[in-house]
């Protein structure tokens, strides 16, 4: 792995996730993003057993598509909010807000910070321009005239280069989609619970070659929230605390900027040593992984970026069954964005917490104690973030 090996333990283990909550995953919520946020936050507070009056910090990330922290504060009757962050950004920033909250409670700035993502990403605000204007980014003026504009196209371009370089093919992409569907069939909140075989995968329509429809994440209306507080405070609440042992930020160069000549190197690859270093862990310690699966291919790349296999080997790793529920490293046990739904990253954090609390029902990984949960790897948006979580003793 490349990257600066700065091993800073920082706030490792000082903060915990004490509660999780979510709304229904749907194609049309029929309510505002504020309502989604409030429902998810109330569910997270109820899960933790924390009275709403105790809430004193609000964190969210958004791309001008969702209710702000101020709107949520007003809804909770808060007149003096000790901590907030309205983080601009999509999937690369999803885990960042949990990291910010952990840092803030560790510094004593606030006691109980809720992190939420609330989107009507199917009914109102679809990624890639449908339902809104063009994204304000210097690259788009050079790309849209060629009909190149949306996330599936952007990731497909990287995926093709990877296939050519390492001999990966549709068997590897299909295995990710099929395995995650198998997991979703064990998850009551998942949107896609119909069985899907590899033949079904092959028979599905192209979106942007080399991606077929099941290679692409769902578009979802949903709110998801997690409650972050100090480890000590979490131990006084209802659920088994999940400690935030590693929380890092990374990224910079993208597919579209100069500075990274290798199409198959993401910000996550540079960041991963810092994440493991902060937590004092290595890839072999990870019991279950929620890897940002905007597309099947992103799972393959992150299996390599986060050190579970060598470059070019992720496809065979998945085909071997290692990432199945019964394998050594179960991945996206809820079905991921491909089959559970797309909450832009926060639903990965929730599933990691449920696994570490032993509350994942039929898809529970036995003896899960360490979980990796990742944001978008940084190819397109430029930034990335991830968490290493541990069940409290």
């Amino acid at each position: 792995m490349t990257g600066t090996r700065r091993v800073a333990r920082g706030f490792s283990g000082k903060a915990a996730i004490a509660g999780v909550g979510f709304t229904e995953f749907s194609r049309n919520s029929g309510v505002t993003t504020l309502t989604l946020a409030l429902r998810a936050i109330r569910a997270a507070l109820d899960d933790a057993g924390l009275p709403p009056e105790k809430l004193d910090g609000i964190a969210t990330h958004r791309v001008n598509d969702s209710a702000s922290s101020a709107m949520v504060a007003q809804a909770f009757g808060i007149r003096d909010l000790p901590y907030f962050i309205d983080h601009f950004g999509g999937g690369g920033s999803s885990h960042s807000i949990v990291a910010h909250a952990a840092m803030a409670v560790s510094a004593g700035v606030a006691n109980y910070i809720v992190c939420y993502r609330a989107i009507n990403a199917r009914s109102a605000f679809r990624m890639g321009g449908t339902g809104r204007g063009f994204v304000d980014s210097p690259e788009t003026q050079y790309q849209a005239p060629y009909g190149y504009y949306t996330p599936p196209q952007q990731y497909a371009m990287i995926a093709r280069a990877y296939m050519e370089r390492y001999g990966a093919d549709e068997r590897h992409f299909g295995a990710v989609a099929v395995q995650q569907r198998e997991n979703a069939m064990l998850n009551d909140r998942a949107m896609m619970r119909k069985p899907m075989s590899y033949d079904d995968y092959l028979a599905s329509p192209w979106i942007a070659e080399p991606f077929r429809l099941p290679d692409c994440c769902l578009e979802t209306d949903v709110g998801v929230a997690v409650l972050v507080c100090s480890a000590e405070r979490a131990r006084d609440l209802r659920q088994r605390p999940v400690l935030i042992d590693g929380a890092t930020w990374g990224g910079g160069a993208t597919l579209f900027s100069i500075g990274e000549p290798d199409l198959n190197v993401s910000g996550a690859r540079h960041m991963a040593p810092r994440l493991y270093g902060m937590a004092g862990l290595s890839p072999s310690d990870v019991d279950v992984a929620m890897l940002y699966d905007c597309f099947t291919f992103a799972v393959l790349l992150q299996l390599e970026d986060y050190g579970f296999c060598e470059r070019g080997e992720a496809g065979d790793f998945v085909l071997s069954g290692a990432t199945r529920l019964s394998g050594n490293l179960p991945v996206n046990t809820h079905g991921g964005f491909l089959s559970e739904g797309y909450a832009h990253g926060m639903n990965h954090v929730v599933e990691a917490v449920l696994q570490l609390r032993g509350q994942a029902g039929a898809r529970q990984v036995s003896d899960a104690n360490i979980a990796l949960s990742t944001g978008a790897p940084g190819y397109v948006g430029g930034v990335t973030s991830a968490l290493l979580l541990r069940g409290d003793a």
Partner: protein, 135 residues
């Protein structure tokens, strides 16, 4: 490739010289006047030497296909009658991290590693774009 009305977006101040050159039939890429590194997309400051000075030299137009995709959905309505269509990523000979998204000039399926050369063609609406043809 059919001539369709393409979505030409607003041009930012830094990139205006690129588009003016394209309309004049020339491929010019912004280059740091201090250290010679090309900047893509055009930006105010060099990300190697941090200098602000720059120039806009013509580049040779030689490149290599590093990846490609074929789009089957009309994500942009302008392309609805042109589906499916291929888009390529081209690495320019001048610098190994200088990678441009574009399209081939002909109908042939792109091949990774193929050497290509820039050609500037009309893109509808009185505008021009750079395309890539096999050497």
């Amino acid at each position: 490739m059919s001539v369709i009305e393409r979505p030409m977006l607003p041009v930012d101040v830094d990139s205006a010289p690129y588009w003016e050159a394209i309309d004049a039939g020339e491929l010019r890429i912004q280059q740091c006047a201090d250290c010679g590194v090309y900047r893509w997309p055009a930006r105010a400051m060099c990300n190697r030497c941090f200098g602000f000075e720059h120039r806009w030299p013509r580049v040779g137009g030689a490149g290599e296909v590093v990846s490609w995709i074929r789009t089957h959905r009309a994500f942009l309505p302008h392309f609805a009658d042109d589906l499916p269509y291929a888009t390529v990523a081209i690495r320019l000979a001048e610098q190994d991290d200088l990678i441009l998204v574009g399209q081939l000039a002909g109908e042939a399926e792109p091949v990774i590693g193929a050497r290509v050369r820039a050609v500037i063609r009309g893109a509808g609406g009185g505008r021009k774009l750079v395309f890539w043809e096999g050497e």
